[in-house]
Symmetry: C2
Subunit: 236 residues, 2 copies
C-alpha cells in the first residue's frame, strides 16, 4: 500500500513585499509541490513566483477553494491516497484558519495523511503578542454582527466576558468598516477597558497601540481600508 501524500500548510505574506516574514524552508518545500489548493489563482501565482522566479507556474495544478466554491475534498483524498503531496495557500498569512483550507485538512485527517503546518505570519497571533494583553486566556470570534442592536449587544457581552474570565477578546471587521467598529467600541465600553488596535501588520505603515477606551476617545487613528484586528481586555 502506498503511504498517503502529505499536506503542507504554506504561509503567505500579510502585506505586499513582506517576503522577509516567510522562513526560507517554505520556499524549499514549495519547490517540490505541484498541487495547491488556493483561494485566488492570480495572487497564488504571483506569490509562488515571488518565492522562486524559476518555478514553472504553468505546470502547477491550482485547485480553487473560496466562499463560492468549496474545495474538491474527494479529489484531495484521491490525490493523497495516490501518494501525492498537496499545498494549501490562503490569501493572507497562515492557511486553514479563516479560509476553506480547513476542509482539505479534515479530508487529509480522514485518510490518515500527515499534515505539516509551516511557520509564517498570522495577524491574530502577532497582534496578541504586541498587545500586552492576557495570552493565557483569549478568544477569537471573527467578525462582529453588522446591525446596530446585535453589534452593541455583542460588544457589551465580550467586555463582560473579558472582565469575568480575565480573557482577551479578538475580533475583526471588513477594512472599510473599521472606523465605525472603533466608534462602536468606544461608545459602548467602559472608560478603563483596554483596546488594542493592530493595523497593517508587517507593512511599513504597521500600527499597534494599546490604550484605554478613555484615552482612545481623545484621538482616533484613521483605519479606513487598512487591514486591522481589534483586541479588548477588561480584566482587573
Amino acid at each position: 500500500m502506498t503511504t498517503p501524500g502529505k499536506v503542507y500548510l504554506v504561509p503567505t505574506v500579510l502585506s505586499a513585499d513582506a517576503l522577509f516574514s516567510i522562513p526560507a524552508y517554505v520556499t524549499a518545500i514549495v519547490q517540490q509541490l505541484t498541487v495547491f489548493y488556493v483561494e485566488n489563482e492570480r495572487t497564488a501565482r504571483r506569490y509562488l513566483k515571488a518565492l522562486d522566479r524559476n518555478i514553472n507556474i504553468d505546470a502547477l495544478q491550482l485547485l480553487l477553494m473560496n466562499e463560492n466554491q468549496p474545495p474538491d475534498v474527494a479529489l484531495a483524498k484521491k490525490l493523497l491516497l495516490e501518494g501525492k503531496d498537496i499545498g494549501i495557500l490562503s490569501e493572507a498569512g497562515c492557511p486553514a484558519i479563516a479560509d476553506p483550507g480547513h476542509l482539505v485538512v479534515q479530508a487529509a485527517h480522514s485518510v490518515d495523511a500527515r499534515i505539516i503546518p509551516m511557520i509564517g505570519p498570522n495577524s491574530m497571533l502577532l497582534a496578541l503578542m504586541a498587545s500586552g494583553m492576557n495570552g493565557q486566556n483569549f478568544q477569537f470570534v471573527g467578525y462582529l454582527p453588522i446591525k446596530p442592536p446585535e453589534r452593541t449587544k455583542m460588544i457589551k457581552e465580550l467586555e463582560l466576558e473579558s472582565e469575568r474570565k480575565k480573557q482577551t477578546q479578538l475580533f475583526i471587521e471588513t477594512p472599510y468598516r473599521n472606523n465605525q467598529l472603533l466608534k462602536d467600541i468606544l461608545d459602548n465600553c467602559k472608560d478603563h477597558t483596554q483596546v488594542c488596535i493592530a493595523a497593517d501588520i508587517t507593512a511599513p505603515t504597521e500600527y499597534i497601540k494599546t490604550k484605554t477606551v478613555k484615552e482612545w476617545r481623545k484621538q482616533l487613528p484613521e483605519l479606513h481600508k487598512r487591514p486591522a484586528i481589534f483586541l479588548l481586555y477588561a480584566g482587573q
Copy 2:
C-alpha cells in the same frame, strides 16, 4: 526629546535544532540588540549563539523575567525613554503570550514605544492550522484545573461551549500529565466530539492527529513528557 526605543518580540524555537522555523530577519534584528528580557539566561545565551555564533554574548544585558521574578518594568521604561531598543525572548516560541513578557510590552505601550512582533513558531497557531477545526471561532484557556472534580467539570463545560458556539477549544497540560489529560477527555466527552492532539511540533517526531473521541478510545498515543497541545471541537 528622544524618540523612545523599540521593543522587538523575538521568537525562539519550539524544539531543539528547529532553527529552520526562524525567519532570517530575526537574526538581523538580534545582531543589533544589546538588552534582552529572558526567562532563562542559559537557554537565551544558547539560542542567541545558535542564531549567530559571532554575537558577543558577554556584552549583552540579560534581564530576568519568570514566575519567581517579574520583569523590572521601571527599568524597561527608563531604557526605552533613553532611546534604547529591547528584545523579549521566551523559553519557547513567540514571546509575550504565555510568559511575563507581556508586562514589558505593557510598560512599552505606557511610554508610547513602538512594539514589533516578529514572525516565528507558536504551538497554538500551528496546532489550530493542522487540526482542521474551526479557526473563525476559537478559545485558548491555558492549563485545565488539576483536581478531578474541577477538571471534569471544566472538560464538560468546554465541550458544551464548543457545541453551542461551534467554537474550537485549545488547552495545554504539563507534559508529564498529558496521558492523564487525554484519558480524562476520553472519559468525559461524547463519542462524536473531535479531539486533535498536536505533540512535538516542528520536531522530527512531530505528531498531529484529529479523531473522534470514539476513535481515540481504540488506540492511545504515548504522550508522556512530550510538549503537546489539545484541541476539542463538538460543533455540528
